[in-house]
Subunit: 83 residues, 2 copies
């Protein structure tokens, strides 16, 4: 199977799961001082733990992204919920 | 309204209060079944409690907004941090 086919296949499975239920959590910290400790990564697990009280979450269904710019840190959690 | 449009709209209102340090938490729940219990309001206090472990938050510095459309619930917390 070529890589091209691989992505084609991915694309298909992706559109199929569009109807899936999802949860997206975004924590944005706008800072005016640049040399502050960044606590967003530490919050991440605790926020997931809160959500887990209300819905079942597979750990492998959670994708985490952390973006930093000069004056803003953004933590993004994308969770696909079980059917 | 898609989540993407939601953030685009938010982006506009954001530029006004640039100086203060702020924390913004957005929890968006995309649903495919409409008649589900909405647990976002319940999560709200617990998420604030997590954040409170890392930063001091005045309760009167927290504004909470909950938007519901047919297939999406969005909980938004805006917190102005102490100087």
């Amino acid at each position: 199977m070529s890589i091209f086919n691989y992505f084609l296949k991915k694309e298909k499975t992706r559109s199929a799961s569009v109807a899936k239920e999802r949860l997206q959590i975004i924590v944005a910290h706008e800072r005016n001082k640049r040399l502050q400790p960044d606590y967003l990564p530490l919050m991440q697990q605790e926020i997931i733990d809160v959500i887990r009280k209300y819905v079942n979450i597979d750990s492998d269904q959670v994708s985490v992204q952390l973006d930093n710019t000069d004056d803003c840190s953004v933590l993004e959690l994308n969770i696909t919920l079980p059917e």
